[in-house]
């Protein structure tokens, strides 16, 4: 069995380093006037949201590619992308909660973004439950791809629908529009912390994604060995 490729090992370390730097930059960024310390959650919140979104989009793309090529490796990529996205949406939601509490005195806001993130989590949960109920790997991949495609199309529509129709709960969180309740504008220092966080999370995404794919390969190997032993 191939040991971890050197590039991946380096990436692992790089990811930890970048995360560390991002944390340092976020903690040392200038204090925001209105919300104070808690606003710094924003750097990571957007970072994890970005990562989650990346996973989401890739999940949809891999679905289509799998359905066209029927090559199981794309299924492996899809599972990896969606798993990473699942975890990061969860973190995003939790960070959003942590930000909301001191800022607006509520644990949850029915903000379109947060709500769509929650719905996407439910779609992911359904995705894994669907896969769990199927034994044949080809069928599991096909059904997974179909559902992921349906979900990938539905979630953005949900986002726009909430935004257009739920006028009682306007776009609240973040954004650089100072008019929006909870919005704020950023100084250059804040901007650099912000963009570095985005970069850091991109690196983390690639690292986790690659690791997860490797895990998938290992799982396949185990299945093969199991089969050999049982014969």
């Amino acid at each position: 069995m191939q040991p971890k490729p050197l590039a991946l090992k380096i990436l692992d370390i790089a990811a930890i380093i970048v995360l560390g730097i991002a944390t340092y930059m976020a903690l040392n960024a200038p204090l925001e006037r209105v919300m104070g310390e808690v606003q710094k959650v924003f750097y990571f919140h957007v970072g994890t949201a970005w990562t989650a979104l990346l996973g989401f989009i890739l999940g949809g793309v891999f679905s289509v590619i799998y359905l066209i090529t029927k090559n199981l490796k794309w299924d492996k990529f899809q599972v990896a992308a969606i798993e990473v996205s699942l975890v990061f949406f969860l973190i995003t939601i939790m960070l959003g909660s942590i930000w909301a509490r001191p800022a607006w005195n509520t644990w949850w806001t029915w903000d379109p973004r947060l709500t769509t993130a929650a719905i996407t989590e439910l779609i992911y949960a359904a995705y894994f439950m669907l896969r769990q109920g199927i034994d044949d790997p080809d069928r599991r991949a096909r059904f997974g791809a179909v559902y992921a495609l349906v979900g990938a199309l539905s979630a953005p529509i949900t986002f726009f629908a909430i935004r257009l129709f739920r006028t009682i709960h306007p776009v609240v969180i973040g954004g650089t529009n100072p008019e929006a309740d909870g919005g704020f504008s950023m100084t250059p220092d804040m901007l650099s912390a912000f963009f570095f966080a985005l970069f850091a999370f991109s690196v983390i995404f690639i690292d986790l994604f690659w690791n997860r794919i490797r895990l998938g390969d290992l799982q396949e190997k185990v299945e093969q060995l199991k089969l050999k032993v049982s014969m």
Binding site: D136, E220, L227
Partner: protein
């Protein structure tokens, strides 16, 4: 009529069929024997175009699977151990439904013919839900021959039938075979296959391990042939 070359079928990491070669001439009646789990049903499903081959070639009535599957289906009739019938419809309505699905012109006449052949004219307006297993099986055969297919595939048709029902099924099968169609029937019951088939093939461990025509078997007997095919 049927030409299969090096057919391989995998389900994930498990290989069920490992390079099956199978040729059937028009009008032959092949009994495909083999133990449970040998892959007979999988093989038949691939011939029926319900399952795709992982590797290899399958040609039926001159059309290639899986690309020309739709054309193959028009020439193919399938009887499986599940009835493929709708319990809440009458026998007649079931046949009408399939006639429409197969786009048959003037199907009323054909339905009458088929009902006569399978001996269910009297029960044509009864709900299939009320039929015994034997009657359902006969109706299933009727459904399979409705569109006058060149090839018929039977997957363990005698499953769950008592003596009388089996005897009736024998008659229907003989009638069907007499019309010059090509038939492949799987069975793990040697006795049934013996009377009807012109050829006997054994599917064991994912390949056809033996094949013998009726004439050749006059000398040895079917059971010995079968046992040897499994061992070899």
């Amino acid at each position: 009529m049927i030409a299969v070359k090096k057919l391989v079928k995998r389900f994930g990491l498990k290989t069920v069929l490992r390079g099956v070669d199978f040729d059937v001439q028009p009008g032959e009646f092949v009994a495909l024997l083999g133990p449970n789990g040998a892959g007979k049903t999988t093989f038949l499903r691939i011939l029926a175009s319900l399952s795709r081959p992982s590797l290899g070639e399958v040609n039926i009535a001159g059309y290639k699977l899986p690309h020309e599957a739709a054309q193959v289906r028009a020439h193919l009739g399938v009887v499986s151990h599940l009835p493929l019938l709708y319990g809440d419809l009458t026998a007649e309505e079931n046949l009408q439904f399939y006639a429409r699905m197969y786009n048959l012109p003037n199907y009323e006449l054909r339905i009458n013919e088929v009902l006569e052949m399978i001996g269910l004219v009297a029960r044509r307006r009864d709900l299939v839900r009320t039929f015994s297993r034997g009657m359902q099986q006969r109706l299933a055969i009727g459904r399979a021959v409705l569109h006058d297919p060149d090839v018929i595939l039977f997957d363990e048709p005698y499953t769950g039938l008592d003596q009388d029902a089996s005897a009736m099924l024998d008659d229907v099968l003989k009638a069907v075979a007499a019309e010059g169609r090509t038939v492949v029937m799987t069975s793990h019951d040697l006795g049934r296959a013996e009377d009807l088939a012109t050829r006997f093939d054994v599917l064991s461990r994912g390949v056809i391990s033996a094949s013998a025509s009726r004439k050749e078997l006059m000398r040895t007997n079917l059971l010995a042939f079968y046992k040897q095919a499994l061992a070899g």
